[in-house]
Amino acid sequence: MALTIAVVAREVWDTRDLSGTVLDENGRLRPGALPTRYEPEDLNALEAALRLKDAQGATVTVLSPGEVRQVDVAREALYRGADGAVRIAADPDELDDAALGALLAAAIRKLGSVNLVLVGTAVPDTAGSLLARHLAQALGWPAILWVDAIEETAADRVIARRAIEMGYESVEAPLPALLAIGVALLEDDPRAPRPAKAMLKLKLKKAEVPVWTPAELGIPDPAARCVTRRRRREPVPPRVIETRTVDPENEAELRAMLDSVRKGA
C-alpha cells in the first residue's frame, strides 16, 4: 500500500534569544516584538515524509493552521517537495491543542485515504500541551512520540525509533498511525533538513494554496472545543547577573577566578 502522508506545518514565534519586552501592559504579546519561523520539529517531520517519498514513493500533503504572519510555511513545504498544501483558517494561538487537534483531524479525514500523519513533538511557547497526542486521539489512531528515525514501513504497520531518556526504543504501530518527530531526526545534522529547491520556487511561486475554513471541516466554532484556557500571561523579571570577563591569555585573571569560585564552592 502506498503511503499517503499528511504533515502538520506550524508557523511559530521564534523565541530564541529574545531581547526587549515581549508583553504589552495588558499581558498580550506585543505586535512586532517577535519574529516567526517554521516550527523546527515540524520541518523535521516534513523531511521525514519527503525521505519516505524519495525511498518508496508517497504522496505528501502539508496542513498549515493559521494565516501567514511572516513565514509562509505551507509554501516553504511545497518548495521542498511536498505534493500539496492546505491552510486551515483558524488562529492556533487562540485554540488549545484539543481544538486544534479536532480541526486537523477533520482536515485529514477530508484529504481522504491518509495512512500516516507526521507532526513535530515540540510544544510551542503558546501551546499548553502536545498537539500530537490530541490529534491522535481525535483521529482514533495509535501514535509514537519523540521519533527520530522511521525504520520500516509495510502495508499495515510502521516501526519507528524513538528517543527516550537513557537511549532508544524501536516501536511498532499498526497503520494508520501518527508519528511525532523530534529534533534529532538527521544523523548528519539534526537541524538541517533539505533546503527549498530553486526550480520549485520558480514553478510554485504563484501556486494557489487552498484554504479550508472550520465550517467546511464541520467545526464552525472550534473555540467551543477548547478544554484548556489560557488564564493570563505575566512578564518574568529578568535575572540580573553580574558577569566578569576573564582574559584567557592572562594567567593571573584565570587564577583569581579559580581562587574565587573554589572559595565559594
Partner: protein, 323 residues
Amino acid sequence: MSRVLVIAEVADGVFNDISLQCLAAARALAGPEGEVEAMLVGASVRPHAARLAAGGADYVTVVDDARLATYTTEPWLAAARAQLAAAPAAAVLLPATTIGNDLGPALAASLGAASVVDADGVAIEDGRPVAWRVGFDRKVRTTWAPEGDRPLVATLRDGAAPMPGPDAARAGTIRTLALDEVLAGGGFLTKVVRRDVAARTVNLRDADVIVAAGAGVGSPEGVDLVRRLAAALGGEVGATRAVVDAGWLSADRQIGQTGATVRPDLYIACGISGAIQHRVGMLDSRTVIAINTDPNAPIFRSAHYRIVGDLKAVIPKLLKLLS
C-alpha cells in the same frame, strides 16, 4: 480540592523521584482535607509503593504485571482511566518525562480534560487547579486553567515542587489492580520491538561541581578535556543534548529541558552556546563559568565568568593552575 492523583514513574527499575515532587504538589493542591492518590504501573513496581506512601500518598494503586516491562501508551492509559473511574480526581500530576509527557496528554485527550505539559508549578486559583510554565526565552509566565469543572492533567518539570522528606511512619493504603481487569478486552496497539537503553550511572542533581560539554567540544578528544577538568575539580561531567546525540557522552549526563535540572555550586559550560532548552536545566547554579569562542553566545548571559576563547586552549591552562 477533594482528590488529586499522581501517576508515579518507574522506568527500567529506577524510581523517578520527580514523582515525589508531584506528591508534594498534589498535597498542596488537595489541602489538608483532600486525598492524595498515587498510582504505579509497570513490571516489578510493587516494592516502590511504600515510598509513595511515605512521600505523602494516602492511597497507592499498583498495576504490576510482567507484560508491562516497557512503557507503551495503551495499557498505562487504560490503567489510569480505570483508576479515575473508580476514584475521580480534580487534578492528575505526572513527572514531565518522555513517559509522562506521552501519557498525560493522552489521558487528558481521552477524558476531555485540560492538559498542560512541562509545568513549572501548579496551584489553586478560585477553587480550581491551574498550571503554569515559563517560556518565551524565560520572559513570560503563562498560566492555564481547565474550562469549566473539567479535571487538569499536568506534567511537572524537575523542581516544580519541593522534594518531600520521607515519613516512614506513613503507611498509606496500598491496593492492587489486575492488568486484565484494566484492559477489559483492549489490547496493546503499539509494541516495543527493540531497545537500546543504557543503565543510569550518575545522578547529576547531587553534584556540587559540574563541568559540561557542548557541541563546541567538537570531538571525543574535546570531551576528554572536559572530563579531566571535572576530575581536577572533584566534579561530574555534564552534557548538552547535541553531545549525547553525537554519542560522546551517555544520556544520564544530559542537562536541560529533556535531561536533568541541576543546581550545583559551580557549573562550567564548555563549548555550550546556551540554547534555552539547555539553560533551563542549569540557570539556578550558584556560580557559572562559560568558555566559548563566540563572544555573543547566549550562555554568557547566564554566566558569572565569561571566557571568550577556544576551550582546547583554555582548559589546559586551567588544569595547569589546578595542578
